[in-house]
Symmetry: C2
Subunit: 158 residues, 2 copies
Amino acid sequence: MSRHSLAQIGVDAEAKADNAGAEVEVQTGKPVAAGGHDHFVERNGLRYAGSHLIIDLWDAEYLDDMGVVELAMRRAIRAAGATLLHLHLHEFQPSGGVSGVAVLAESHISIHTWPERGYAAVDVFMCGDAEPHQVVPVLKQAFRAGRITICEQLRGVV
Amino acid sequence: MSRHSLAQIGVDAEAKADNAGAEVEVQTGKPVAAGGHDHFVERNGLRYAGSHLIIDLWDAEYLDDMGVVELAMRRAIRAAGATLLHLHLHEFQPSGGVSGVAVLAESHISIHTWPERGYAAVDVFMCGDAEPHQVVPVLKQAFRAGRITICEQLRGVV
């Protein structure tokens, strides 16, 4: 990841780690008492497992930059108030596309990028008190997305 | 994972590995030329990134059995003709719920289980020539699901 692109998403202070490897693996802990995974939520008169956002980014940049993808995911998780348990990133050649998945105490975030199309497919599934919608401005800023579409699905409605 | 539950999903021959640990990690390779990840598909007059299935399992069993979850994911991936790059499973306590994510050359599969509800939330995102619908009978059999709902979303329709 270049200093340039890090600066562009405003994360110079986090630029110390070398995130340019083709595989990034982060393991943060053993089995936890899940913050919100083990109970359905009750909100607006509904009882359900969690909220699943299907997010498409178009006219986006830095989609072949593993460092930007990783930082965007970490910032998105933080913004949502979620707890990261495991993060894995994979770089595809020759396109430079990146697939990333983050396992959370509250479920997961995934991202798959098509740099040659300026397109990224993200999904954010969060249970409990996490706020999945908070990831949207983070993604928009990180990838300078020109257009974003969001579809929300409540999972496991009783 | 018990021999009993393995037998129930018909995978005795695969029962050698000890999959009962709280964390399971499989890393299968470095950057690959993706089978289908780096190109949009054209099908039925549409051009798009891939098909995303949102699958809810109800009245399901073995949802607290990491071994069943892992084998179901591996069999689902094989049934779909997809290529596994990375698999991670996490067990939650005290519920016994399991979160699993598989990064594929064709995108990903995730599963999150709520054993106390008999409920599992699965999503299957696959690009290229993989056949995501093939995972449904595998999941139904593995978890003896009484009811399954499926929602399909085409991602990145141009």
